[in-house]
């Protein structure tokens, strides 16, 4: 089996994987298929099990229950060095005693590949650092080390490249640049990338498919736009961007739409965007989907009246408002500063409106705070 494993290719399939540490289940009955050639992101807060999942795929941990397949080959218990999988480690884990050239050549030499020099030069050119071949890792900046760590992995042309929070140690500007670069490199080399991150913006920028993980399970999986526009759980709604979740009751049907009662005001939303199981539901609307108008203005779509501007933050491209509603809830509203209309003032009486099709519906028994903050206790084990 082990000699076959190294040449295995194809989709990565995790089947009913559980990883327990004593009573704690880091990963809980997880089933997942990552198609060959995709840029896949595992997104979640610290302690959600995403790093454990990655380490099981790399072979650094063994699942307590379940199996891992690469194509048709079972690699569940294959040793790391016998898997056609390479990892870009969180702190790069470059070999400090070897030159950059030897760091990159390490995997090639272990497999007895002949044209080491040629391949290392090629990948150094790909990451645009050919002049650093003779240096030691400590002489490089963080961004350069990051690229070398990537080069050291992709030079082996693995069936699967794992990236464990690869940009976590870089500053914001460099991180943005590397995100674009990583995406470009992935297309260039055509390898399957599995990217683990807690940064939702990073996952959305790079991945074609994102699996949002929470407490060892996958909450929802889909394209970045799917997850953002139509989250299925409060956790996803809050972890990816911000959401206004308003408690309501389904009050009837109108063709393909549901009529929902929000504290006495009726709104409508598409049936297929509701994930409610009974008549109780949370209506979810993203802050930038809301429009604010002064009381008495005629508006289209769903409307909620009785709002009062509680706080105004002007941040350049947009203005962020906090609007207090009659039932005591405060709603977030982002307005683009693109129409020359001066911002509203604190204390203005306003109504809020939005396009009904932007509404998503969550189960009425959800914890609407889920995913809004990270519990420090969950940081352990990551």
């Amino acid at each position: 089996m082990s000699s076959d494993a190294i040449s295995a290719r194809g989709d990565l399939r995790l089947t009913r994987i559980t990883k327990s540490y004593g009573d704690f289940k880091a990963v809980d009955d997880l089933t997942l298929t990552i198609p060959k050639g995709s840029f896949f992101a595992l997104l979640g807060p610290s302690g959600c099990g995403k790093t454990t999942t990655l380490r099981m795929v790399a072979g650094l941990e063994e699942p307590t229950v379940g199996s891992i397949h690469l194509g048709d080959t079972d690699i569940t218990t294959t040793r790391p060095y016998q898997r056609p999988i390479n990892t870009v480690f969180q702190n790069y884990a470059l070999f400090p005693h070897l030159t950059i050239f030897e760091n990159i050549a390490f995997g090639l030499r272990r497999r007895g590949i002949k044209d080491v020099k040629e391949q290392v030069d090629k990948v150094l050119n790909l990451v645009e650092l050919p002049h650093l071949a003779g240096r030691k890792p400590t002489q490089l900046s963080g961004g350069q080390q990051q690229r070398i760590a990537l080069a050291r992995a992709i030079v082996n042309r693995p069936a699967l490249l794992l990236l464990d929070e690869p940009l976590g140690a870089l500053d914001l500007k460099l991180r943005r640049q590397m995100q674009i670069e990583l995406k470009w490199i992935q297309r260039e080399v055509g390898l399957t990338f599995v990217h683990v991150t807690h940064d939702q913006e990073e996952a959305m920028t790079m991945a074609d498919t994102i699996a949002v993980m929470n407490e060892g399970k996958i909450e929802q999986m889909g394209s970045p736009a799917d997850l953002y526009d139509n989250p299925e759980t409060a956790f996803v709604a809050n972890f990816l961007g911000q959401s206004n979740l308003i408690k309501g009751k389904i009050d009837g049907n109108d063709g393909d739409n549901l009529i929902v009662d929000l504290f006495g005001q009726k709104i409508s939303m598409p049936k297929k965007r509701s994930h409610a199981v009974d008549t109780s539901l949370y209506a979810g609307i993203r802050p930038e989907k809301f429009r604010i108008s002064l009381l008495g203005t005629a508006v289209k779509g769903n409307t909620l009246t009785g709002g009062r501007i509680e706080d105004v933050s002007y941040i350049g491209v947009s203005t962020q408002y906090v609007v207090a509603m009659p039932w005591g809830q405060e709603l977030m509203v982002f307005e683009q500063n693109d129409d020359g209309v001066p911002p509203f003032d604190k204390g203005d009486e306003v109504l809020i409106s939005w396009e009904p099709s932007f509404t998503f519906g969550l189960r009425g028994d959800e914890d609407i705070e889920a995913g809004t903050e990270v519990n420090p206790e969950e940081l352990e084990g990551e």
């Binding site: 790399a58 072979g59 650094l60 040793r79 790391p80 060095y81 016998q82 999988i85 390479n86 990892t87 480690f89 969180q90 702190n91 884990a93 470059l94 070999f95 400090p96 005693h97 390490f106 995997g107 272990r110 497999r111 050291r152 082996n156």
Partner: protein, 284 residues
């Protein structure tokens, strides 16, 4: 009171310099002077005068070539043995001990709670007829019924290995403990099996500890005389024993001083060559 800032570092260095000057530089100068003296004609035992007799060095060395050679052979053996014992030990403490790490480290330095002399004398008991080692080895037919272990070269090397083991273990532990376990994981990820990862990553990264540990063992071992005096026999004497007896028994100060200088020079040359070979780069 305010002091000009530039003077502060010098003032702080002053006690150290004064100490080194009084107890290291001056005695060394004194020793150098003694090494070229000859006995006063018609004088008492122990009366010497300065005659710049550099021939003392040649006589001292040629008369004690055998002991010099033995010193370096014994020191080499005990250094290699200590490395062989300390490396797995330090590795286990650094990577495998978990919550027992601190207890094990205390156990490594625990021998220092008793005097060096007492511990060496204890080895005489351990290796003696009434100890458990000799009867044990005899019953297993590893040594013959007549063989004894005390007063042998084996006992001297064993004693030195034991006595210098903590000096080998601690620097090794320090450098192994500093290795990011992820670099070893990375080696596995890059197609290196356990043995290759150890050879290509762990060993090179622990070289500073190996160099420091071997120096801290080899240098004192080469100059040691206590182990040879307590555990050895007249045929396993080391240079240290000769210097000791020249000073305190024969009162031949010039020869003792010349031997001391020769020993120091030999160690210095060997250590320099060794560091060159091991690569100073690895030490940083």
């Amino acid at each position: 009171m305010t002091l000009p800032k530039v003077r502060v570092p010098y003032l702080l260095l002053l006690p150290g310099f004064a100490f080194l000057f009084t107890f290291f530089i001056l005695p060394i100068i004194n020793l150098a002077q003694t090494s070229t003296q000859t006995p006063v004609k018609g004088g008492d035992t122990g009366q010497y005068e300065q005659t710049f007799a550099f021939g003392n060095y040649i006589t001292a060395f040629t008369e004690n070539k055998e002991q010099f050679a033995r010193s370096f052979i014994f020191a080499t053996f005990s250094t290699v043995l200590a490395l062989a014992i300390a490396y797995p030990l330090a590795y286990a403490i650094a990577f495998k001990a978990g919550k027992f790490k601190n207890i094990l480290l205390v156990l490594v330095v625990a021998p220092f709670f008793t005097s060096f002399l007492l511990r060496t004398i204890a080895w005489k008991q351990i290796l003696g007829e009434e100890g458990f080692v000799v009867p044990g080895l005899r019953s297993l037919h590893i040594i013959s019924q007549q063989t004894t272990l005390t007063s042998t070269s084996f006992a001297v090397v064993a004693g030195m290995t034991y006595n210098f083991l903590p000096f080998m273990t601690l620097p090794l532990y320090a450098s192994l403990e500093r290795i990011d376990p992820r670099t070893i994981e990375a080696a596995g990820d890059l197609y290196a099996n356990g043995i290759t990862a150890f050879r290509r990553v762990t060993v090179p990264l622990s070289m500073p500890g190996v160099v420091a540990g071997t120096l801290l063992t080899f240098i004192p071992a080469a100059g040691d005389y206590v182990n040879a005096a307590i555990l050895g026999s007249p045929t396993s004497k080391m240079v240290g024993n000769v210097i000791e007896s020249r000073y305190f028994k024969i009162v031949d100060y010039p020869t003792a001083a010349a031997l001391s200088f020769t020993l120091m020079a030999a160690i210095l040359i060997l250590v320099t060559l060794y560091i060159r070979k091991a690569g100073t780069e690895e030490l940083v």
